[in-house]
Point group: C2
């Protein structure tokens, strides 16, 4: 296998969008553009789907001005896919690569994308076809193994904190119980990130619940009652993936409530938001309550972005191309925090197998004993990844 | 009645917060601070509630640096209230004013706040007590009479457009049907404002539904089907106050669906979001669908603010104080668009009775014949009120 191969390259984006996934894409494009050996850089429209359907667009000569505009645009400029290729699907990808003389494959996505890259890499090796395969990390959930953190997370966490700061000011002005439901079905990193919004002693969030620590509905209601009695209000941040001590998702318990309250619109809910309010209404029938689910805004809101996240996402794209031009055959780009007083990360390559399939959870040490708040150790990890948060003015 | 009275002033904030309601508050404070005649400026904590409970904080000497920080902070720095004072309540307000030698009352809020100001003004007049009463407009709904538009609306519309632009990019990358539910129980201005997010021919929003035009569920489903068949995706913006041709709120129809689908979590919904998805699933069982309710983020998100809105909110606060020092006894500050090529507004005073009680609706001429989109006439009205929207990059 030659280190620098003459041939074409393919880049694709996969899974849920982030605010900075196009930074990684542009990082790949601008680094490839420097290489004489790579003739065409094909953007695969809608990820692996675009490879097997041969929807490939040559994007190597996109102008720097256009590239910069794309880099600052949230969501996947090439389109994305939810397809999770199995062995047979990957055979089709590989066969498209042979047909188009593709020698470099860059895939930007989460752990499923790393798996796809891993299978394609194995197929190429078995066939003795020279192919360089690099996965570029992306996820607002921050749940990839090996890497210190994932590009996309810092910007989603920035959005969540802006929203929670505003919402806490709203809740101060019209006191009551406010629940915000945050993305992350299995990993609580994004939910936990809301801890930064608490800057004054009585600021919200007052309670934070992550999927990594099961909590009973009774405990949840007790916690809220305690804060409400003390402050006359309560800001609660809940992960959509929260589950009960019996291991069942709270979101699944909805059915019971719906059945209990046949015909009762107040209690029936298809969403966790309605369910949590129904649970709290039992002990706090008169309190003002409202739940909002932040939804897709967390992953695609423009401009409210972490500069560190944007810069690292770009650098991960560039690093993938540099690695592909080295002796390494394949791998996933990861971030490593360097020692020292000031925050700094460097990229390195980890084998695809170490990132594929499995995911990372929020460590138990970052969750308090009561399972209802986040520890300072997580704040220390988190702060450099998030943009500076808005100052808040108030009367002394 | 003297034009310039020696005495104290009270300022309060009422109703749902906005991103710029503190600009109006700071406008009042900085203009009052210039006046020798006004000894104390009391901030009423949580609006009229703070007046009757005598929770008054002297804020006249707040430093300019602190004031500027407060001005840029969303939500009501003095706290807010949902109390809608009747005659008896207003008697208590008036009696607190007598006790504290209050001669100036500035109340920042919507049409209910104008009503309160109006009743208090009448009581003072009847009692021959010299009192100047001025209402300062505020509402994200933009539903006050007389004024060209309301401070708070332009910033909420800016947030909504940022969110819809990001969400449309998200929907492009993973195509499907996406519904966003926007605040405004009776007025469709904020929902209609999302029209600015559509900049390219195939950009969303593709459909916009406001409360001012009833729409049947069949028509709604047909509209979505048509767009989905044409583009393979559909972005729908729906006001929370949308209602059926029989005049009933769609949100109220939930109960029927809940009853129909006893035990079926998919169909049961306490929210309009789940209901709309249930309606669409009948004709599009396989389409990817998701609905998000933007919720409180629309009224309290920090930083994503319209500079014009912020400046006008500030100016309305200042204008109220200037008016109070003129010969006018009472009134509501309103905005009037000046003729000319470039957008410019000036403030003027309208009698409290013209703003109290009633509200404004989106004019029918701004809604298309099919009742599913917004006309260019509204875009013309809206554009100067909203911040410049983020540029979007894409591959040609």
């Amino acid at each position: 296998m030659t280190t620098k191969m003459i041939g074409n390259a393919v880049v694709g984006q996969s899974g849920g969008p982030t605010a900075v996934i196009n930074q990684s894409l542009v990082g790949v494009i601008e680094e490839v553009a420097k290489q004489d050996g790579i003739k065409h850089l094909f953007g695969a429209m809608h990820g692996v789907r675009g490879i097997v359907d041969e929807k490939l667009k040559d994007i190597k000569s996109t102008s720097p001005v256009e590239l910069e505009r794309i880099a600052h645009t949230p969501s996947s400029a090439l389109g994305s896919t939810r397809d999770k290729p199995d062995e047979a699907y990957c055979e089709k990808i590989f066969s498209a690569f042979r047909k188009h003389d593709v020698r470099y494959f860059f895939y930007i996505g989460g752990n499923d994308s790393a798996s796809t890259a891993h299978i394609v890499d194995s197929l190429a090796e078995k066939a003795k076809y020279d192919l360089k395969v690099f996965h570029v990390p992306k996820t607002i959930d921050n749940d990839l193994l090996v890497t210190d953190h994932c590009p996309g997370f810092g910007s989603a966490a920035t959005f969540v904190n802006y929203a929670v700061i505003g919402d806490d000011l709203d809740n101060r002005s019209l006191p009551g119980i406010k629940i915000d439901i945050i993305m992350g079905r299995h990993a609580g990193f994004l939910t936990a990130s809301s801890v930064l919004a608490k800057r004054r002693e009585d600021d919200g969030p007052h309670l934070i619940y992550v999927p990594e620590r099961p909590i009973s509905m009774d405990q949840f209601a007790n916690d809220v009652n305690e804060v409400y009695a003390r402050l006359g209000r309560c800001m609660v941040i809940v992960s959509e993936g929260i589950h009960d001590v019996d291991g069942e998702l709270w979101a699944k318990k909805l059915k019971e409530v719906t059945t209990d309250s046949h015909g009762n619109v107040e209690l029936a809910g298809s969403g966790l938001d309605a369910y949590l309010i129904a649970v709290l209404k039992k002990s706090l029938p008169k309190a003002r309550m409202r739940a909002d689910t932040f939804g897709y805004l967390q992953r695609s809101f423009p401009v409210v972005v972490s500069p560190t996240d944007a810069q690292e996402a770009r650098e991960c794209g560039r690093a993938a191309v540099r690695a592909a031009l080295s002796d390494t055959r394949s791998g996933s780009i990861s971030l490593r925090r360097l020692p020292g007083k000031d925050y700094k990360c460097e990229t390195f390559v980890t084998p695809l197998s170490t990132v594929a399939v499995k995911t990372k959870s929020l460590a138990q040490e970052h969750i308090n004993a009561a399972g209802n708040f986040i520890m300072p150790s997580f704040v220390e990890y988190l702060r450099p990844l998030v943009a500076p948060l808005p100052e808040v003015g108030y009367f002394k």
